[in-house]
């Protein structure tokens, strides 16, 4: 009995230590969007399904733990031609690996309410170091995080068979994210 209580206490303690400031994302208000450029025209899209494990205390950014899993099958631009092409083997190749993952390794403060997350983004099995500047605004227990980063599709081997010279699809893909989360 004593032992069980002790074990439970240890587990609880460990759990609370691992998640010092956990957040729950509100998917309805959050968005990970991207802008592909097709023949000079922007094609706006977003990922409809993703999950994030966020442990972030704005006062102690160095202790932050952020991991985001994005379902690449849920990339949607509203253009059926584009959406139909994206899962193909030359692009996301979702038949092989449907999840992209961002893991922050270092988070540091750069100004009031401004932070920088350095980490690794893995798409199509290719891990690329990514620096994501973001802002953090809290209102009570609800916080809004906004960030953007421009990725190069070549780094992840996207569309190299179809268009290796950016004749149709630009190399640069700006990614914008807005995350609304509630502190647990």
């Amino acid at each position: 009995m004593m032992r069980a209580a002790l074990a439970a206490a240890v587990i609880l303690l460990a759990a609370s230590a691992a998640t010092a400031a956990p957040w729950t994302v509100d998917p309805a208000q959050s968005r990970i969007g991207f802008t592909a450029t097709w023949l000079g025209k922007p094609v706006e899209g977003s990922f409809k399904r993703w999950t994030a494990a966020i442990d972030f205390d704005p006062a102690k950014p160095a202790a932050a733990k952020i991991a985001v899993d994005i379902d690449l099958r849920a990339a949607a631009t509203g253009d059926r031609t584009v959406d139909g092409a994206l899962p193909g083997d030359d692009w996301f190749d979702t038949a092989k690996l449907a999840t992209a993952r961002f893991v922050a390794t270092t988070v540091s403060q750069t100004g009031p309410g401004a932070y920088m997350a350095r980490g690794t983004l893995t798409v199509k099995g290719k891990a690329v170091p990514v620096t994501l500047p973001f802002t953090f605004k809290a209102a009570g227990k609800v916080a809004t995080v906004a960030g953007s980063v421009t990725l190069d599709r070549r780094s992840f081997g996207l569309g190299l068979g179809s268009d290796a010279t950016a004749e149709y699809v630009a190399f640069a893909v700006p990614v914008k994210l807005v995350v609304v989360a509630r502190q647990r």
């Binding site: 059926r80 031609t81 139909g84 092409a85 004749e167 149709y168």
Partner: protein, 189 residues
Amino acid sequence: MDGRSRYSTVAIGFHWLIALMIIGNLIGGLTMDYWLDNPDPAMKQIGFQIIQIHKSIGLTVLALSLLRLGWRLAHPVPAMPSHMTGTERLLARVTHWGFYALMLLLPLSGWAMASTGKLIFPILYFGTFEVPHLPLDKSLGGLFRESHEILGYVAIATIVLHVAAAMKHHYLDRDDVLARMLPLVKPRQ
């Protein structure tokens, strides 16, 4: 009214509908490089749109041609004029059956090309439903592309021959060969 010397309304309908679509697609195919090789992205965009329409028209030609082939096999065509020589008859038959082969092979090679090309896009039939790609090996892409182009030129040559023959029948032989394929025109008696 001599019913036997005239093509049926269905045959006339098939002929002109498919003819229009093939000519449209040949123009699209011939001007494709002009659009796609243009440095202006807006021109490339037009080329890309033309390709999408080109695919839908090609698939329509394929479907209509299968129906037309069925109709052709089930319904006798009017007899050739008696003045035609053996060589002329043979040439006419080869041209006509050649057209059937082209009406099926041109769209099929295009479909195969679209299924194995460098840029793979879903084929949306006039922007509506998706037509699946043919399950073909990507390494054959170049071959299909070549065949599609060559067949296109063969089609142009065959059309030139076909139109020249129709003109010869109409203006030199003064028979009803052209008239019996024209809608709303009564054949010469």
